[in-house]
Amino acid sequence: MNINIPLKADANLLDKPILPKKKERDMLALSPTANAVLTVLLGICCILMLIPIYVIVIASLTSEASLVADGYQLWPKEFSGMAYKFLFSQGSIVITAYKNTIISTVAGTALAVLMVGLYAYPLSRDNFKFKGFFTFFAFFTMLFGGGLVAYYMVTRQILQIQNSLWALFLPSAFSPFWVIVMRTFYKSNVPNEIIESARIDGANEWRTLFQIVMPLAVPGLATVALFSAIGIWNNFFNCLILVDEAKYYSLQFTIYTTLNNIRFLLENADKMQGIVNMSQLPSQTFRMAMAVVTVGPIIFAYPFFQRYFIRGLTIGAIKG
């Protein structure tokens, strides 16, 4: 078995800019016309990419009255920030969900970085006796799984993590894929000599890992952290299959159930005349605002990680 996902072969590359400087590529540069066409074309694509985000923001800012009268508009007749005011004044369900999601994202990300960082290091060292076995042990799970039903029964009946905060992050706290990426990252970015000299200076395995190796592997670990954080923040599945009690709902699950409720009620409004008073339904814009604020915090994580992540972009060629 010969899997190898290097995060860029030579260490110097991390300090090089990801794209070569203009001067270097003059000879290969596109003609000014071609470049202009490309820039405009991709610019248009970027604007298209932003449309869904625009849609959801504008929907959350539409006033309830204009929504009832004309539906959602590209540019509503009447704006209103009421939804946000309402969201932050009331909203115990949002606050609980927020709290749950923040705790599980932080805990899950920390666990992922630690477990992946620990697991991958021995696999990167040639003198680890069980290297082959543990590589296969992780890799095999990428190829074969017990299936949803078995997973559901095991997590609920044997591990019994349902209806707890653990359910929201423990199943996402480790990933064989990132183990393989990190293994290669250690291999290619932490020179053997450094590890050996730490050894000679009397550092044991643990000290070498935490004080010498991990600091050198920060870009790789930060990439693992970023992807785990996004994964857990946006996770819906764990909550769907493992949580039945509202006090452990995650943010994504909470906003999903609310969307589900409005759609059902609105579409069946005619059949339910007299049963449900439509004017008493929680406001639709309120729900849109809820969706907007779930995106917020995780996007703020991006610039924080970007420094490393742009380097992490050099996740080099996967070599088969």
Binding site: K8, L13, K22, M27, L28, L30, N35, L38, T39, G43, C46, M49, L50, P52, I53, V55, I56, A59, L67, G71, Y72, L74, L114, M115, V116, Y119, L123, F130, F134, F139, M142, L143, F144, G146, G147, L148, V149, A150, M153, V154, Q157, I158, L159, F174, N234, F236, F237, L240, Q252, Y256, R263, L266, E267, M288, A291, T294, V295, I315, A317, G320
Partner: protein
Amino acid sequence: MVLPGAIWLLLFSYLPMPGVIMAFKTYKLVKPPADSFIQNKFIYSLIKSPWVGLDNFRYLTLPTNIDATLTYIRNTVLYNLLFMVVGLVLSVALAVMIFEMTNRFLAKLYHSIFFLPFFVSWIVVAYVVYALGSSKGIINSIIVPMGFTPIEVYKEKLAWPFIFLIANIWRYTGNGSIIYLATITGIDRELYEAAAIDGAGKWKQFTHITLPHLIPVIVLLQILAVGRIFGSDFDMFYTLPNGAALVKDVTQTLDVFVYNMLRSTTPLGYPAAAAFVQSIVGFILILITNAIVRKTRPEMALF
């Protein structure tokens, strides 16, 4: 050092594996007697449940169910193939274009924008679909005044392949291009310079230098993707249609089908049989693909 990760793998990945035998049993919950060695209800019941051979699979192919089963298999496989091909082409194209841009600041900005959707969860995308395509959605508020008949995506089967495709492109293209962009960055510039001197245009450079360098990455990712061909992006297929029953035929995939059976009163053996097919066929396909790759280009095989 490998211990925490190994325990996690043991609990969350290896422990469920023997559970695949549920597909060949009629799972009945029995309380283990006090003197039993195994006190866990699930394990005890699993062992005690009677073997029924292929009965669970037969249920999925009964005349009343065969249409549904085939429809969900078709949806799963076709959507996966579509996403594989379109995702690959667009991600590579985006990586090449970003790399060729002369203005480095804009290139970085563009790439960040393309990556941005990856931060947005499928549930928020479900809200966007609702705000755009529901009966009171933005699309209707634009096309109805122009004289078109209003559309409502939750009742429109034809719309869903496009919604899923666009949503998939939107969320994953930027993320998918990262690995190709990184690979292209690693290619020796001198190769291109030599090619340019020999008179190769941009297209020739792409087919003769860039593409051959990308092939190993592409092959690896596609082998892994083939193994997941019976799986699906559960969150997307489950949340975007929002449970709309009228479009079930074009939106439901095996994953969602298994989940829905799991959560209904259907005997557990049935969803277990469907899940078994997913695991085993996926595994076999990955072995076959890898064997083919191994035959033709041994250095690119996964194992």
